[in-house]
């Protein structure tokens, strides 16, 4: 199977420089079909540069990029890719219906305009002009443009930047419902955590981490497990799987762990009498600080 179906995206030793800024420095990664992958990193990390390269909007100085087994611009020209750009503004003097209908036709009429409007919840806004939309509504129009050709691959650059939390959740529900291979750039860490199968962390043009959200978390910081035990014994607690650090105040126990699941299972299994258990902390944001601050400008 893997020989017959090329990867959705493949970067091999890709470098890109803008003037004096080394936007990407020999980065290598692959994205398989069916994955939903977040490109995560602070501003200036190289996320948008990577997205531009994947879309054929700019060319790499060095390295090889393949999208759906072909050159990025060929995949785009064939309408196999849908994209929502960070700065993809809408024309002020066209209606939502005009824009979506144009997109449907540019992609060769694979869908009906009404169907795409329905899918993206824009039916009622079809007659609204491009400059009379809220930030979230405009993003939905961009999403409709990206979806107009039933793409095999979706690129989303900071897709929910103008959305409130509810709109964000609805947006992601719609994206995940499509089942399309998705690559999205974000600096919302909770967004990568909640919606990506895999996170590629970029910092200063390099890949500094690549794995599932929970792997990224466990790479640094881990998680914190708090509970109340009748007779806590620090030595026993430190021997539990995953535990790196123990602090006990009376009956209150705080454990730092690399594997919260195993730690919690062991707490219940071999110690017992566990009350008021909480697993928290070391969210992705916390986890990222040591990863991305190394060479921060």
């Amino acid at each position: 199977m893997e020989n017959t179906t090329p990867a959705a995206v493949s970067f091999q030793g890709v470098s890109k420089r803008y003037g004096r800024v080394q936007a990407l420095d020999e980065i290598t990664f692959g994205i398989a079909r069916g994955e939903c992958v977040a490109l995560l990193g602070p501003n200036g990390a190289g996320k948008s540069t990577a997205v531009d390269l994947m879309l054929g909007l700019s060319r790499a100085d060095r390295g090889r990029i393949a999208v759906l087994g072909t050159a990025p611009e060929k995949a785009v020209a064939a309408g196999r890719v849908g994209a929502m750009l960070q700065s993809g503004g809408l024309p002020a003097d066209a209606t939502v219906g005009d824009i979506v209908s144009l997109a449907v036709q540019l992609y060769g009429g694979r869908r009906r305009t009404a169907e795409v409007l329905e899918l993206t919840g824009l039916t009622e806004l079809a007659r609204r002009k491009g400059d009379a939309l809220s930030g979230g509504q405009a993003q939905r129009v961009r999403f409709a443009v990206a979806m107009a050709g039933e793409p095999e691959l979706l690129f989303l650059d900071e897709p929910t930047v103008a959305m409130d939390p509810l709109a964000r959740r609805e947006f992601w529900a719609a994206v995940r419902a499509t089942g399309i291979t998705t690559v999205f750039a974000t600096h919302y860490l909770d967004e990568a955590d909640a919606f990506a199968d895999r996170v590629i962390v970029l910092a200063n043009g390099s890949v500094v981490a690549d794995g599932s959200p929970s792997t990224i978390k466990s790479m640094t910081g881990g998680r914190t497990v708090r509970c109340v035990l009748a007779t806590p014994d620090p030595t026993v607690l430190l021997a539990l799987p995953g535990v790196r650090d123990v602090s006990v105040h009376g009956r209150d126990v705080t454990l730092r762990t690399d594997d919260a699941d195993a730690t919690v299972a062991a707490l219940y299994g071999s110690i017992g009498g566990v009350r008021e258990l909480q697993v928290s902390g070391a969210d992705l944001e916390e986890a990222l600080i040591p990863l991305t601050s190394g060479k921060a400008a």
Binding site: D52, G89, P91, L106, F155
Partner: protein, 233 residues
């Protein structure tokens, strides 16, 4: 490409300011000055005015804004190719002159009492349509070169400059160098070609060569600029 042209024209037609400017101004000027003996030449001058304005503003005005807003980038990640985009914008720029030229023609026939043989009407309209090509390309070039409101202003300034030097607004000879310079200005040569057609003559080759030259130079400049736009951030 046709869907793209249709989309662009629908956009332009929604823009009421644009229509007012491109139809009302030449028609208004014609009604003010184009009576009596001057009815026919004034019609040609105002048709060229509408052609130059429609070509420049129709194709270039929105490009700068589209570029600034990021709509061009969005279009570039659809299957719409660069060449198709360019062809679409040029076709749209030429088609956008139709309302202004039609308005002037209707005013000339009804209010100005202009009567011409059918063949001469056809030749005039064909000349003005084809002759609007360099203006559409110049507008596109400015739209791709200047930013946002500067582009809009630049296009309007260029338009009135070309209209004045070309003798479309105002009359008589220009002072000094400008009088010989105007023979190389597309508004002037297009109007002169129109006057020839009006008089039943074939337009002079020199004037047509000037128009062709502007078209080729502007087309090359647009292509170079567009290529750079495709890869630059």
């Amino acid at each position: 490409m046709f869907s793209f042209v249709r989309f662009e024209i629908a956009r332009a037609l929604r823009n009421v300011k644009y229509l007012l400017f491109l139809v009302m101004t030449p028609v208004g000027l014609y009604l003010a000055y184009g009576r009596g003996a001057d009815a026919s030449p004034a019609m040609v001058a105002m048709a060229v005015y509408a052609a130059a304005g429609g070509g420049l503003i129709g194709s270039g005005g929105g490009v700068a804004e589209d570029r600034m807003r990021g709509w061009l980038r969005q279009l570039k990640v659809t299957p719409l190719g660069n060449a198709q985009w360019l062809a679409g914008k040029i076709v749209q720029g030429v088609l956008m002159i139709v309302p202004g030229v039609a308005g002037v023609t209707v005013a000339a026939v009804t209010a100005g009492g202009v009567h011409l043989p059918a063949g001469r009407w056809a030749a005039l309209i064909a000349l003005v349509l084809v002759g609007s090509l360099p203006f559409a390309l110049l507008g596109l070039l400015l739209g791709l070169t200047l930013k946002g409101k500067t582009a809009q202003a630049g296009i309007v300034v260029l338009f009135f400059g070309l209209a004045a030097v070309g003798g479309l607004i105002g009359s008589g000879t220009l002072p000094g160098m400008l009088e010989s310079l105007r023979h190389y200005i597309p508004t002037y040569t297009l109007a002169q070609a129109g006057f020839s057609v009006l008089g039943g003559q074939v337009p002079g080759a020199g004037g047509l060569a000037v128009l062709a030259g502007w078209t080729v130079v502007a087309a090359i400049a647009v292509l170079v600029r567009w290529r750079r736009e495709s890869h630059a951030r």
